[in-house]
Amino acid sequence: MRPIYRVAKATFHEAWRRRFLNGILVFAILIIGSSWVFTYLSPGAELKMLIDVGLGSIRFFGMLIAIFLGVRLIPEEIEKRTIYTLLTKPVTRAQFLLGKFFGGLATVISNVLLMGVAFYVVFAIKAPQFRQMTPEEGPAYSMEFMYANVAKAIFLSFFELALVLGIAVVASVVFSWILAAIFSFFVYFVGQMSGFFGHLADPKHGAGPLARYVLGTVYRIIPHFEKFDVREAILTDVPVAWAHIGTVVGMGAVYLTLVMLMGYLFFSQREV
């Protein structure tokens, strides 16, 4: 465990010195903070915008950070040759890969936490006025589940971004980092639409057998990233079920394990 921790720690400290990542984080916090500009909207619409922009920004900018960080973690070690002095010490390739992943994950989580705190501050300031909405202003929000739901949404983002990061790290072992970034974006956006593919693969929608097979295969293989998005539940003011969270986290964990295993298979053969 010690080599994994050491590599992860060094990765985390190096990652925080990347200016482009800090830039993304600052920009994201500015966007979340700028939810103030929606005060001219009616309270109901304002709450929707606040949730959409805030949680959407956390997911979107978190995804950008996870992919751009993930695809550079290992290639940079190879380009800068820092990997030579690590892999020639008692550090196995599996430990190195996991160390890079966990160091990247700690960076992503801390970025998401900072964005989450920014969102919570804005939300806590704005929330009291949503309790006093009249029926004309929009649907009545009990706000009973809101804080817990927002916390659950941010919690799910951690797992979603862990999977995105894992895909980016492993893709960078197989492809060049640019191709790995394109691949990771592709998987993420297709994963956001996985429900749509499942819908189209349904025989009652009239697709041919080949199209159904292709769409069905994509639906079964691709991670269902849209399931990590619980904004709809928050806006309809119903609690996000723990059963749903458990299912989604379980699915993410299985995908992540498979992705990291594949990553190890490629990295163990990779010459540096």
């Binding site: 720690k9 400290h13 190096e14 010195r17 820092t82 002095t85 020639t88 008692p90 053969q269 010459e271």
Partner: protein, 311 residues
């Protein structure tokens, strides 16, 4: 019968690199080599001759296309020997946000070192490479020489039995280079095995016990330094500068062979007596005598001879 312990043994070690579209490029061709424990072995060769490829194969950073090797008695691919080796890569790079003590603590902890033992080892090594007074500089602010010094320190953190040094004095000033050479000799005196790769022949000659010369991926010659550099038996060599053409012609008549190398006149004589007579003549005619002694070639001469033949 004396059993010689081997630190490194390679058998037909070969590496072809994939260069795209199904094409390959030769990195190393059938290297068969034995390196005894407790010696300094130098692998020399022109750029691209396969020195770094050899190191990377032995350290498991790349994988052989053919052949086998053992490091400290363990076959390639076994990670157990990593705990007993140290490696200084060519032009080493480190995490830029760390300073020298933080780097050594990180590397030391990978070997399970910690506490007071690691702190004293770190202090000892930073003193050894003259980095203690500059220990708080971050790697990002290091000169090439400082990186090299810290590179040597990290290679020694686990007190390894076998050291791989790739161009150990690159980027160092003459004093720094001398200090590193002294470190290498001290390591050998303590029974460590040092595997050196360099193209600095003048540096390797007095340092190494055994030398192998690589050219175009092939080991063209190897052996004990004294044997490799030994000249013609019973012959004596005279080296001098400021020798006129007239004097050179006169000496050539008595010598077995004469030549000029970088402005230095060299003559080979069949006996000690004729060599010393020639030396006296040179000094009496205003020449500046550099050396008179049994015939011994320089590593540079051997290198040019064998590499020239190959290319």
């Amino acid at each position: 019968m004396t059993v010689i312990a081997l630190a490194i043994r390679t058998e037909d070690l070969t590496k072809y690199y994939a260069v795209g579209l199904g094409r390959t490029a030769l990195g190393l061709d059938g290297l068969t080599l034995d390196v005894e424990e407790g010696q300094i072995f130098g692998l020399v060769g022109p750029n691209g001759s396969g020195k770094t490829t050899t190191l990377k194969l032995l350290l498991g950073l790349i994988f052989p296309t053919r052949g086998s090797a053992e490091v400290l008695g363990l076959p390639l691919g076994r990670s157990e020997y990593k705990a007993r080796v140290g490696y200084l890569p060519e032009g080493p790079y480190f995490y830029e946000h760390l300073n020298a003590p933080e780097l050594l603590r990180m590397y030391g902890s990978l070997f399970g070192l910690g506490g007071e033992r690691l702190e004293s080892r770190m202090r000892e090594l930073l003193d050894l490479v003259d980095m203690w007074t500059r220990r708080n500089y971050r790697v990002v602010n290091y000169s090439r020489g400082m990186r090299q010094r810290v590179g040597v320190a990290q290679a020694l953190i686990n007190d390894p039995d076998l050291l791989f040094f790739d161009e150990p004095t690159a980027g160092l000033d003459p004093i720094g280079a001398k200090e590193i050479r002294e470190v290498i000799l001290k390591l050998r005196d303590r029974g460590k095995t040092v595997f050196l790769c360099s193209h600095l022949l003048k540096e390797m000659e007095p340092l190494c016990d055994n030398i192998g010369i690589l050219a175009q991926g092939q080991l063209v010659t190897q052996g004990n330094v004294e044997d490799l550099l030994a000249g013609k038996e019973g012959h004596y060599r005279v080296e001098a500068t400021q020798v006129s053409e007239e004097l050179e012609q006169s000496l050539a008549a008595q010598a077995v062979e004469t030549k000029r190398l970088d402005g230095t006149f060299q003559a080979l004589f069949a006996s000690e007596q004729s060599a010393f007579e020639a030396a006296r003549t040179i000094t009496s005619k205003g020449g500046s005598l550099l050396n008179v002694g049994p015939d011994r070639r320089t590593l540079e001469e051997v290198f040019i001879e064998v590499v020239g033949e190959e290319s």
